[in-house]
């Protein structure tokens, strides 16, 4: 065997990951993905071992619910054949390895910096001299947007090449939000500090990232979370999904200047996040999820309160959706805008909503279940057109689905088992991988410990990491005035990408 097989949240000794030669490594991993739409790369990263770099590649198989992990040792200055030349799934990952470790690729088609990490290999690369793709033409023009966003949300630079109103090419340059999250996990020694770092990866996916971190930590420590802990996490994940999807529907309506939808959906998001405040003291769910603990137990009183809130929420939500999806002027903006084909999402390996919009089933709640999802028998919602309309419909359907799950979950509130945070320290020389389906898609956290059981390497992959490319493909041949609606329909995270 030249790879090892694990399941979600399983800890294995690092020595169990077979170390193979680079040629074998590239054949194995690109071979996994050839003609297998059920497989995709969940994480591919390098970590420093002495003066060498250990590459670890994790390929998830949605049908067998397994993850295939293999590794390879290379030198930092090596010039290698790239995975990307064979499969675009690895494009961003290899750029990251190139940026961080100076690994050269001789046939990578787009070897540009990813996020200008502070510990990058080549310090002469700066955000001010990003090598943009450009054109020599009298007819075409370039439009640069950002890094200051028109709605001052988060910074990112978008460079369009247009023929009049039509977009031919979009290049997205990020990295302005880089905070060194992965280094912070190693630098901060207290568990609480690390959890807080996990909460700050992306402000809109607090539950998702903190759950992933908690799973990693608990798995490393050999801690089996009790039912009430996983119950709270699953519930919080679904509530977060509801709140953000509702907010996104509002934002999409704002972008097409549909005031009624914008204000009604905006209002509907509030009771959900206010409930999070009632439950855990924070509207964005900060402080709610803690490794090994049920910080804010979910009580039957809270369950009643939540049921009341949902009873008020549901009719308004359904009525507003009926209005929105019957409004000709809104439909004319949604339909056939920002299309990404099935072949494209498959080849670039998008995850979450950005895959399900085009008929590609990627949902770790079903394929690599965690928490209480095995009991919920989750059926992913799949649309097939890959346009803004599909993405909006997915949101609508997922809110309804989450509401159903929450209603089921709060029927039986589990007994509180007491705060049993008796932690062993993490196992030494171990490797753990955790997949969580946040509202945006698959979140992947990986950790490696050293011989003392200290964190030696921590790797975060937010779904935005490869989904940004889907946005760049979506806007091709669209009007430039439709870019904002395309962007909002994806609603990707800048800070989740930049870490």
């Amino acid at each position: 065997m030249n790879y090892t097989t694990i399941i979600n949240n399983q800890t294995i000794p690092v020595s169990d990951i077979p170390e193979i030669s680079y040629n074998e490594f590239i054949d194995l991993n690109t071979g996994f993905l050839t003609d297998s739409p059920e497989r995709h790369c969940v994480n591919y990263f390098g970590s420093r071992v002495g003066n060498q770099v250990r590459l670890i590649c994790c390929i998830a198989d949605d049908n067998t619910h397994q993850i295939y992990v293999s590794s390879c040792l290379i030198k930092s200055g090596d010039s290698l054949d790239s995975f990307t030349a064979r499969n675009f799934n690895f494009e961003k990952f290899e750029r990251e390895i190139h940026e961080n470790f100076g690994v050269g690729y001789n046939d990578h088609p787009w070897l540009k910096p990813v996020r200008y990490a502070k510990n990058r290999f080549d310090q002469s690369q700066t955000i001010a001299n990003y090598p943009f793709f450009s054109i020599e033409s009298d007819e075409l023009h370039e439009v640069g947007v950002g890094p200051i966003h028109a709605g001052i949300i988060e910074p990112g630079h978008f460079r369009f090449i247009c023929n009049g109103e039509q977009i031919l090419h979009l290049e997205i340059q990020l990295g302005y939000q880089h905070r060194g999250i992965e280094q912070q996990f190693l630098a901060k020694k207290k568990l609480l500090q690390r959890t807080t770092v996990a909460e700050s990866i992306a402000g809109d996916t607090v539950v998702g990232h903190t759950t992933a971190f908690s799973h990693v930590w608990e798995s490393l420590c050999g801690f089996q979370p009790s039912r009430d802990i996983e119950y709270a996490r699953t519930l919080a994940l679904e509530l977060e999904r509801m709140a953000v999807h509702t907010g996104d529907l509002s934002a999409v309506c704002t972008d097409i200047a549909y005031q009624l939808g914008s204000s009604v959906f905006g209002r509907l998001r509030t009771p959900i996040i206010n409930f999070m405040q009632e439950w855990g003291g924070n509207r964005l769910s900060k402080g709610l999820i803690r490794p090994g603990r049920n910080q804010f137990p979910f009580t039957p009183e809270l369950a009643n309160r939540l049921a009341e809130i949902l009873d008020i929420y549901e009719p308004d939500f359904l009525e507003m959706n009926e209005q929105l999806f019957q409004l000709p002027s809104a439909l004319s903006r949604f339909e056939r805008t920002g299309v990404v084909s099935y072949d494209d999402v498959l080849s670039i390996g998008t995850v979450g909503m950005a895959a399900r919009m085009s008929g590609l089933c990627r949902d770790t709640r079903q394929s690599h279940p965690f928490g209480l999802y095995p009991e919920l028998n989750h059926e992913p919602i799949i649309k097939h057109h890959g346009d803004v309309y599909s993405r909006v419909q997915i949101r609508k359907a997922e809110v309804k689905q989450s509401m159903q799950y929450i209603r089921n979950l709060i029927q039986h509130v589990p007994e509180i088992s007491g705060n049993e945070s008796v932690f062993q320290s993490p196992k030494p020389n171990s490797f753990t991988l955790s997949l969580v389906e946040g509202w945006r898609g698959e979140i992947c956290h990986c950790a490696i410990t050293d011989e003392l059981g200290e964190l030696a390497y921590y790797k975060v992959k937010d779904p935005s990491f490869h989904n940004w490319l889907a946005l760049a493909l979506a806007v091709r041949n669209n009007e430039i005035s439709d870019f904002p609606i395309c962007n909002k329909s994806f609603n990707l995270s800048y800070s989740g990408h930049d870490l």
């Binding site: 023009h141 439009v143 109103e165 972008d255 005031q259 009604v264 009007e479 005035s481």
Partner: protein, 301 residues
């Protein structure tokens, strides 16, 4: 003189009514009716910032734009009473003095060298170009119908012959209001509230304007709405005495403003590529008016 005073009063509340209607439609209380007016007073007290890449064109353009709108306002009559300026062919003067102002606002947007503003300028130029035939066919038909070529005589003679002319007036209302929406960059052509430069038309052209200049541009926008509203009123009130026509003026202006507010609340804006088609439809409606005028005159064989 009368028309000038009425238009100024209407301009003071027109935009405020739109904003208020939109607020109420979305369940909010909304600002006072005169808030837009306070906003421009605030801007008038401020200084101006000019970007280093701009030339004198950028500095004179807001003033020229504002004066062009004021000039256009002067030729608008009110029923039987003439505007301050009135001469044969003044509707042509009206259209092209506005076009002159628009020309300057377009070149001032180009002057900033911003890629957004160039895009906005090209959109604005395209839409104005499409709206122009609609206006001239409408006015030409009225001139044909009445045999006069100035606003005041045209409007006062409009309803003397036949009641079918009221049907034409209603079609004319539609055309003029839609032209007003295009000119003022309101929905469904443009979204005045958006913060996204890439989807803006008019708003993006004035991104670089600030302080006093911005105040002038906003005031010109308020005036434009009231001017088009006044033209609409003129289509109906030609034969009424003043004690009826003045209340009618305010009622019609108010209905138009609320109508704009309702449209903006309950529909999404058009996709940019559909705008040109939509504006072109106005020309077809104008042609209907033209054929209507021919019918009334019995020139159809």
């Amino acid at each position: 003189m009368l028309s000038l005073i009425l238009i100024l009063i209407a301009a003071a509340f027109f935009t405020g009514v739109i904003v208020r209607v939109k607020s109420m439609a979305s369940g909010r209380k909304g600002p006072g009716i005169l808030q837009p007016l306070f906003d421009v007073f605030r801007l008038f007290k401020k200084g101006v910032v000019y970007s280093e890449t701009t030339s004198f064109v950028f500095q004179i353009a807001p003033t020229i734009y504002f004066s062009s709108v004021v000039m256009a306002m002067l030729v608008v009559p009110f029923g039987q009473s003439k505007g301050i300026l009135s001469f044969d062919g003044d509707f042509i003067f009206f259209a092209y003095i506005l076009a002159l102002g628009k020309f300057f606002s377009i070149i001032s947007a180009m002057d900033t060298g911003s890629s957004f503003e160039g895009m906005g300028a090209s959109r604005e130029a395209l839409y104005s170009m499409f709206a122009e035939p609609a206006f001239f066919i409408l006015m030409g038909s009225l001139a044909l119908l009445t045999g006069h070529t100035n606003f005041q005589e045209m409007f006062s003679a409009l309803h003397i012959g036949s009641y079918i002319s009221y049907a034409l007036a209603i079609l004319g209302t539609f055309v003029l209001m839609m032209i007003a929406m295009v000119e003022n960059s309101r929905m469904p052509i443009d979204d005045p509230k958006t913060h996204l430069e890439l989807t803006m038309v008019h708003e993006v052209m004035i991104l670089d304007n600030s302080g006093f200049d911005l105040g002038l541009i906003l005031t010109a926008g308020y005036l434009k709405f009231a001017i088009y509203g006044a033209l609409v009123v003129n289509l109906f009130i030609g034969v009424f005495p003043l004690q009826y026509s003045i209340p009618m003026f305010f009622v019609i202006q108010f209905v138009l403003a609320s109508g704009v507010g309702f449209i903006e609340s309950f529909m999404a804006r058009f996709r940019m590529s559909h705008n040109a088609q939509f504006i072109f439809v106005l020309t077809s409606v104008s042609l209907l008016i033209f054929f209507g005028a021919l019918l009334i005159l019995g020139k159809f064989v």
